[in-house]
């Protein structure tokens, strides 16, 4: 029984970390219809700058992460302004294909430049929090922090979308871009803001990544694909979907890896295929 509880806890906590990173990707797709393949690179950059600042100052990595959010926002905003906006006027299928190619190119560019400037080796931050123990069961406060953060972000972004002008404009852009333009919404700016928020979320996920694991310049595309699976599982563009998708992936990995570590990830992706067979638009897709 204790083992079952431990596996469920471990799965939920791991799923929380996955969801945190997938959240920004889902938000960007929901608003801009762009599959941002450079999302993992923003996560890596968040981890890298945390590592560099932590090494230089010794400050708490999460404090560094919070300080980095505005910079990550600006980076995402500029990224959209320079690379995505020229594609905005194209037909839908051309825009989708072009955005995949452009973000893939950007991902490879960021990977190479980072590798050249900061070195290609693994980097990690030596920081931990004591875990909570109850008999043989343990809960990692670091991972719990990630779950709390994703829950807070879900609620926060929900209210942001409902209550603020930018949030409402953002929803309007998602639902009907022409309608939004007719009522005076600057849809270009809204898309850039969304990219900024997505990048900010990725950089926060990067902080968790560098604290819990380690980062390297070439990790980006690998994690992007994983998070892409999560948002496809949850339903493209659905925030709650990315949370549930992350939890399903985390739980499946956790339970299967206990019995056979080799099949943990495979089983998680089999679940993805099964769900897509039953619900082709994902769990919360419309």
């Amino acid at each position: 029984m204790e083992i079952a509880v431990q596996l469920v806890i471990a799965g939920i906590l791991q799923g929380g970390v996955y969801a945190l990173a997938a959240f920004g990707l889902s938000l960007i797709f929901g608003v801009s219809d762009v599959l941002n393949l450079a999302h993992g690179e923003f996560l890596m950059l968040g981890g890298l700058f945390t590592f560099l600042l932590f090494s230089a100052t010794g400050l708490n990595p999460f404090l560094i992460g919070l300080m980095m959010v505005p910079f990550a926002f600006c980076l995402g905003y500029i990224f959209d302004r320079l690379l995505m906006r020229p594609l905005a006027g194209k037909k839908e299928h051309i825009r989708l294909m072009s955005s995949i190619l452009v973000t893939l190119g950007a991902a490879l560019f960021i990977e190479d430049v980072t590798s050249f400037l900061a070195g290609a080796e693994e980097k990690g931050v030596d920081y931990t929090l004591p875990s909570f123990f109850w008999g043989d069961i343990f809960i990692s406060y670091l991972r719990l922090l990630a779950v709390v953060m994703i829950a807070a972000l879900t609620v926060g972004i929900h209210y942001y979308l409902k209550k603020t002008y930018t949030g409402r404009a953002l929803r309007a852009t998602t639902q009907n871009i022409r309608g939004a333009m007719l009522v005076g919404v600057d849809t270009h700016r809204i898309r850039s803001v969304t990219f900024g928020i997505g990048s900010g979320l990725a950089s926060i996920a990067g902080v968790f990544y560098v604290v819990l694991l380690s980062i390297s310049p070439d990790m980006g595309l690998g994690v992007t694909i994983k998070y892409l699976c999560i948002i496809v599982l949850g339903g493209l563009g659905s925030l709650i979907g990315s949370l549930v998708g992350g939890l399903i992936l985390g739980l499946t990995e956790s339970v299967v890896s206990y019995y056979t570590p080799h099949w943990g990830q495979t089983a998680a992706f089999l679940i993805l295929v099964l769900i897509l067979l039953i619900r082709p638009k994902g769990l919360f897709g419309k």
């Binding site: 083992i3 431990q6 596996l7 471990a10 906590l13 791991q14 590798s115 290609a120 080796e121 693994e122 980097k123 990690g124 931050v125 030596d126 931990t128 875990s131 123990f133 043989d136 343990f138 990692s140 670091l142 991972r143 819990l212 694991l213 380690s214 390297s216 310049p217 070439d218 990790m219 690998g222 985390g250 990995e253 956790s254 339970v255 299967v256 890896s257 206990y258 570590p261 080799h262 943990g264 990830q265």
Partner: protein, 395 residues
Amino acid sequence: MNKKLIGFCLVFLMAVAIIGPDMVRAEEPKEIKIGATIALSGRFKGIVGTFDKLGDEWAGLVNERGGIYVKEYGKKLPIRFEVYDDASKPENARKFYEKMATDSSIAFFMGPFSSFISNAAITVAGKHQIPMQMVCGNDEVLFEKPNYWRVGSLVPAAEEWERLVPIYKKKGGVKTFATLAMDTLHNKGVIKGFEADLKKNGFEVVYSAIAPPPTKNFAPMITKLRKAKPDVVCIEALSLAFTIGFLKQMREAGFKPKEIIVGHVTKHVIDTLGPFAENITGLAYYIEGDTQDHKDFLEVTRRAGFTWGEFMESGIRYWAYTRIKQTIETAGTLDRKKIMDTMWNMKSKIMGLDNYVTKEGYGALGSYPCQVQGGKFVSIWPLEKALKMHKYRNP
């Protein structure tokens, strides 16, 4: 007229094709060029570090002394490396070795990093009959099929951890072991050999698992490990992300075995784990000594900007470089067949250790126990030294 001209051209072209390569080869070379690929990016980068620079610095040291004497030409020739980044992928390595095989000025191939990539590279060496000194490749799959054109530097993977067992046997205090290997040829080979060695010596293996390289979530494995309560936890992985992820999650879980053995400890592992890395036991392909080779090796690593303890695989590369130098000096020629014959038959000393190749093609360099002490990876071998210096993490 036309037929005669075409006939003459064909005969001429055939003659060039047949004797051309020999004419080129007979020309006195200006340098000895060694072709290699290294994982300067990708998942092995953390272990490989800047070994391209290490090679250049070694060549620089040899060239400062005039180069390598080749009897056939009656003089010393400078040595130079031509290195490509295979990005830790065998298909890239194969492509680059194929490219270098078309360059007749390449005297030697040096193998890439890992058995996984070496397996692709040795086929190119065999196909084009170019001598290859493998560096970091010692899994049995590399030596199963006969291939005259490659020899190794290392003992079989299954024997790599054999020097650890006598320490635990003599010292006592531990009985049960748990192992986790990353799913690569090398890692599985090492752990398989170590487990057999442990059982032969009366130890018990209470947990044994293999996980794929991209594994990030180790919590389920650690849950099972905690239940098995091993005295010693062993992790063998060529990816530092794998090793670091596992050890960090072990720390999160508050799991404190008496001893942790990590197969590939580098500067990045120590830096990332901080004080948690203290007293992690590992192995390096180096043992301290006072030979000229030791002085040269330490000088070359100093020039390359790191210490042997920061990149524990650097010893293998020095071993391979020195084998190449000794081979050319012994063979007295750059003729590929004679070079290869010499590589198989040569017996000498490198760093005070016996250097030879077994009939299967394995080398003679083994690994020697080390431990992280005071934030540095220090050598604790021979056995008497290990019994004095080695410390359990949680006695």
